[in-house]
Symmetry: C2
DNA sequence: ATTTTGTGTTAAAACGGTTTAGTATTACAT
DNA sequence: ATGTAATACTAAACCGTTTTAACACAAAAT
């Protein structure tokens, strides 16, 4: 009870009266290369179209050792940033004749590891990974095993992999400067417990901008424990800390959203009581009252670049040089971060 | 420059000193069935584990004619309802040893058609489809070609396919009754131009509930042209119609979100000026001020059911009977639909 | 003693493509 | 006439797995 049997090379070969080898050559556009006659070429192409021939991907894959399948592991597909990223990656891959299979790690290294295994089993040619906390070893292992791989959004400085990521320090530096320009001085930064470079860079950008402004003493970084964002924020904000702050920067999409839940619950007025700056956008930000400012990442570019460098490496014979690509973001300014009157 | 070469049956066979046929039988758990000796079985299993053998999926697929790949086409993966659905489907499929590849049709039949082709090319064993407008013919074609297929969220009454969907009429009847119970009488229903059953059923549920309440004359269904939701809503609402209404039911997730943009722009107070009821939930609904009530669909159940019926059909020899599964939803009530004081 | 039955194993074919080495045929140069 | 080269094509191997038919060898039945 599956799909109807498909047209094979042999069917075309028989119909035209040539060998299936010839048909294969013609349909792979290697007619000239192999010195196939014009007439044969024409007939084969015509018959293939007539019968609507579709190559059997498994036979091809088995022979060539390549599947034209890419694996993608994101942190969480229900996060709009990753959803968009996945979509762009899919689109770009499809343009180059590749199909993408994906999964979410939920920021758990065990999930990541399991997923990578599943993907490898499916015979993917290469993987695009958003690595999660504590996955450095795993990634290093794969790197040593010569997996074709590109890291996105985050990377490990010690492991020499292809990577595409944001200039995170600059982004947060710009956010901080913007808030400073709106005459906020006591600016807090909401982060989570993480060794991952993208996060430490974001923190660094904030700190540097504060230092530049001579506000070294006002630096205030809140590191939330994983999986307890709302709980911890509620406690911290409820107690007193929020009274000492004029603005808060949330350093990723889900932190922002969780933060908004808490601020809403505490009836904090934005930006009167507290200015807010978030990450990655989405309908939530635009529809919130007031609309929330955010860092817009070049998601499309990020996805396309990842696909391009990965496939280029896959298709090149000689091991290409390993590069890190760093992209720039911009700020979408809304009411939540404007000067209070 | 791809993955390192993997361990094959032959490697194990050589290491143990038996034929690869025997190894295949043992590793497929058919040792007893084929009367393989105990010792050989033990040795093979041990060696397979030692070498971390992973079967080559393409060789297996080529031989068996089955890929253990499922195709999934949703309307729009960036819609949280479909994102969650996709995730549940993936999870359920993975539990049964299948992998899912997916794409978004963007409600365009040409996209749908193209995607189905891509999926078929990838050799999927079966497909799970959220059919879009004007795709009835395409689906009917595939049905005639004996594609293993299950429709989700929507279906065509005239085509006898497996399907899993919501009791949409009942859902909207309940929404309408709820609003009536909150003493709203002039209730409008926002829909879009569509022949798809899920939408006509939603309209029907609303109409029936209004009739039940003796409010036949207050029935007010707004059908928006596709791709122009916001534009049209803005025009309609701006003019005058909204003044005659006390409540609005939005009949899917994106209509709700687009509607909120417009209502926000027009500074309509919810629920004082207008009560609002939406579909499918998400952070936007919970964080909106005030929180938006919505119909919660049993997404997980829907995904699991779709996977189950599809795989069951794939794996059964005899053509199973075609069934339609209809699931129930519940209402999440928030401030947006409560009685005005 | 010979056939039958059963047990444990293997050789070989098949899946559908790609690629290499080889074969025929004609054309050209020696 | 003979060797060389170019042209147009094909046979066959190969990828890794599954499955069928076959094959030894022993024990039991005739």
């Amino acid at each position: 009870m599956a799909f109807k049997k498909k047209v094979s090379l042999k069917d075309i070969a028989q119909a035209v009266g040539v060998s299936s080898a010839l048909v294969s050559m013609v349909l792979n556009g290697k007619a000239k290369q192999y010195g196939i006659g014009e007439e044969a070429t024409r007939k084969v192409l015509a018959k293939a179209k007539e019968l609507n021939y579709q190559p059997n991907i498994m036979a091809r894959g088995l022979r060539s050792g390549r599947s034209r399948l890419l694996g993608l592991v994101v942190a969480d597909i229900s996060n709009p940033f990753f959803a968009t990223l996945a979509r762009e990656i899919e689109r770009a891959a499809s343009e180059r004749g590749y199909t993408v299979i994906y999964g979410s790690s939920d920021e758990k290294p065990e999930h990541l590891s399991k997923l990578m295994n599943t993907l490898a089993n499916q015979g993917v040619d290469g993987i695009i990974v958003v690595p999660c906390e504590n996955s450095e070893e795993l990634i290093a292992d794969l790197y040593l095993q010569k997996y074709a791989m590109v890291l996105v959004d985050r990377y490990f400085p010690k492991i020499n992999t292809l990577s595409v990521s944001l200039d995170n320090a600059e982004a947060c530096k710009n956010v901080t400067r913007h808030l400073l320009s709106q005459s906020y001085k006591k600016i807090g930064f909401v982060s989570y417990e993480s060794e991952l470079l993208h996060m430490t860079e974001r923190v660094r950008g904030y700190c540097e901008a504060m230092q530049e402004a001579g506000l070294k003493n006002s630096i205030n970084v809140l590191k939330l424990p994983q999986d307890k964002y709302q709980e911890t924020m509620l406690q911290v904000f409820e107690q007193h800390q929020i009274k000492n702050l004029e603005a808060l920067i949330f350093s990723n999409n889900s932190l922002t959203i969780q933060g908004l839940y808490v601020l809403k619950q505490l009836k904090v007025r934005i930006p009167e009581d507290l200015a807010v700056f978030g990450f990655d956008g989405g309908d939530v930000f635009d529809l919130y009252c007031p609309a929330i400012s955010y860092v817009r990442q070049p998601v499309e570019e990020m996805g396309r670049k990842a696909v391009t460098v990965l496939i280029d490496q896959l298709e090149s014979e000689k091991p290409e040089e390993i590069k890190r690509y760093v992209l720039k973001s911009d700020l979408v300014i809304a009411e939540s971060s404007l000067k209070k009157k």
